[in-house]
């Protein structure tokens, strides 16, 4: 069996009597472009929180390649190549985009503990941050404070911050949330163009986008994985139509 970039084995989580994750088994191969879909409350964001360590699972194990990371803190998982973005912008409002991404690069390169050297002295970190911003078409606005950026640019900055950690696995929680429909395809083309070394799992509600950009789709309902398959298989799956698509769309 070839090693997946990310796998979970038997993840369980409940809040009291509410089961939010039940026996989650997931394998994300290298370079994956997987969509995670499901109705509201299906436990999609919870699953990302479990995988990244922001929530502790009641049971189960999480692996990055062959290393188990279940006991690691969120920041330790990030340093091992597991990055995420947030559904609601979780940015640094008063830092410029360049400063924010440079910060993430400095953390990865181990510069962020240095207090006796000036930041601009770390030309390599600054250049790398700038290159990431350029690749996401944020080069022209990167000197402005984050809170002054247009909403769509802030969504891109979410991704830029995650990329600055040099991830092997990238979990995107509704990357286009709140972005007008026309622009969301543009945002997803950025995601589709990411390096093939990065395994991407994204949560998305817009089925047009999901069927266009995902190579495989995982459907979650009530904290369980209902089915996983190619877009064709998912579109044809009777159970998916019943619980999620309501039988009418993409038939």
């Amino acid at each position: 069996m070839s090693t997946a970039a990310l796998s979970t084995r038997g993840l369980d989580k409940s809040f009291g009597s509410l089961v939010v994750a039940k026996n989650i088994e997931l394998d994300l191969p290298r370079g994956a472009r997987y969509a995670l879909i499901g109705p509201n409350g299906a436990g999609k964001t919870t699953l990302i929180n479990l995988i990244t360590g922001m929530l502790k699972p009641d049971k189960g194990r999480i692996f990055l390649e062959t290393d188990e990371v279940t006991a690691l803190k969120p920041e330790e998982r990030v340093r091992r190549g597991l990055a995420r973005t947030f559904q609601i912008n979780t940015l640094f409002p008063h830092l410029s985009a360049l400063e924010a991404v440079t910060l993430a690069v400095c953390e990865r390169r181990g510069y962020a503990g240095t207090w006796w050297q000036k930041l601009p002295a770390y030309a390599d970190a600054v250049e790398e941050a700038y290159a990431i911003l350029l690749s996401l078409r944020l080069g022209a606005s990167c000197y402005r404070p984050t809170r002054e950026l247009a909403y769509g640019q802030q969504r891109l900055l979410e991704i830029a911050l995650a990329l600055a950690t040099n991830p092997k696995v990238l979990l995107l929680d509704e990357p286009a949330a709140g972005v007008p429909q026309g622009e969301s395809a543009e945002l997803f083309s950025v995601i589709a163009d990411l390096s093939q070394d990065i395994a991407v799992l994204f949560i998305e509600h817009d089925m047009n986008v999901v069927f266009r950009f995902a190579r495989r789709i995982i459907v979650m309902v009530g904290g369980r994985i209902l089915v996983e398959g190619t877009p064709g298989e998912i579109a044809a799956d009777a159970r998916v139509r019943e619980v999620y698509l309501g039988g009418a769309h993409h038939g």
């Binding site: 990244t52 922001m54 803190k73 969120p74 920041e75 990030v78 340093r79 990055a83 995420r84 947030f86 979780t90 940015l91 640094f92 409002p93 008063h94 830092l95 360049l98 400063e99 924010a100 440079t102 910060l103 993430a104 400095c106 953390e107 990865r108 510069y111 962020a112 503990g113 240095t114 207090w115 006796w116 050297q117 000036k118 930041l119 601009p120 770390y122 030309a123 970190a125 600054v126 250049e127 941050a129 700038y130 990167c142 000197y143 911050l161 995650a162 600055a164 950690t165």
Partner: protein, 329 residues
């Protein structure tokens, strides 16, 4: 573009940390008391010491977002350390200062393990509790600290073997001002370093920090220790220049005052604590001469007015009027 020239992003970051002309004017102006108000050099020395104390609070509050109501613990610890060393027969100021700084830093490092685990209200209560704890310990250990009478018998030697701590405060102010300036340079470098950027990250969004791989607790422990060292130096300066140490150096009042001073001046702006200290101490000196019992009435009024109308402090208000003062933080 040649490889020797700094790139545009680097030039932008360089411009953020450049010395402004107003900063140079400000530091030159700190020499004016020697000429203009030679009778007030002891007050000027106290202002410099308070400014240094406020600057150390700014590092943790203004940059890392750690609210402390017990910062006097480190000030007082430095003060008693410096006082006791001199009392026990080693009155050399500079080594005393270094030892006091190290002692306060050690206390800061030990307590930082608790501090780094909490935020918000819990943090305020913990810092408050630690401060009260230490103040009460010093009160009880009167055989060591002199208790409510204060530490008596502190005798300082000449600074560098040449300058006596005189009644006019010429040596005191020179000494305090130089210490303030040197540690200001350190603080300035800290906030302009990659570490300083990480601190601003913690202040701006503590939730995002772990998601970019940042070990926030380690950053907080480090800055807390640095701030404790600076507060300890401030306390030691007070002990050495006044040749006495009282329980007041550890009191809740001192913790609250320095917080008020920093908020008045403007937190997170490096100069906020210094400007706040000047305004606060000069106003107290002047107003308490008129009617001392109303001093806190006026400070209370000023504090409420500043927080309502100038939420970023006096410097923040000025920065809105004059782009040249605008802080990069």
């Amino acid at each position: 573009m040649t490889s020797f020239a700094a790139s545009e992003p680097q030039r932008y970051l360089e411009a953020q940390i450049r010395w402004r002309p107003l900063e140079i004017v400000f530091w030159l102006a700190t020499l004016l008391p020697f000429v203009l108000t030679p009778n007030y050099l002891l007050l000027a020395s106290q202002i410099a010491i308070t400014a240094l104390f406020a600057l150390s609070l700014d590092l943790i509050l203004g940059y890392a977002g750690i609210v402390s109501l017990g910062h006097a613990a480190y000030f007082g610890f430095g003060s008693y350390t410096a006082g006791l060393i001199a009392k026990w027969g080693w009155g050399e100021p500079l080594t005393g200062l270094v030892i006091a700084a190290a002692a306060a830093g050690m206390l800061g490092y030990l307590t930082s393990f608790i501090i780094a685990r909490f935020r918000h209200l819990a943090l305020i209560m913990i810092t408050l509790g630690l401060g009260l704890l230490l103040a009460e310990a010093a009160n009880s250990a009167s055989w060591l600290t002199g208790g409510a009478d204060g530490l008596q018998g502190v005798r300082m030697w000449k600074l560098l073997g040449m300058f006596q701590f005189d009644l006019y405060g010429t040596t005191a102010y020179s000494y305090s001002l130089l210490a303030l300036f040197l540690l200001f340079l350190v603080a300035r470098r800290v906030i302009h370093s990659p570490f300083g950027l990480a601190l601003r990250g913690i202040r701006e969004n503590a939730v995002r920090m772990p998601a970019i791989g940042a070990p926030s607790p380690a950053h907080i422990r480090k800055v807390y220790t640095i701030a404790a060292v600076m507060a300890g130096v401030a306390g030691a300066l007070l002990a050495q220049t006044t040749e006495t140490v009282s329980l007041e150096t550890l009191s809740f009042q001192r913790s609250a005052d320095v917080l008020v001073i920093l908020i008045l001046g403007g937190a997170g702006r490096l100069y906020g604590g210094i400007v706040g200290a000047i305004i606060y101490m000069v106003a107290r000196d002047q107003l308490s001469g008129v009617n001392p019992q109303y001093w806190y009435f006026w400070i209370g009024t000023l504090l409420v007015a500043v927080v309502i109308f100038l939420p970023n402090g006096i410097l923040g208000g000025l920065a809105r009027l004059m782009p040249s003062v605008r802080s990069r933080a």
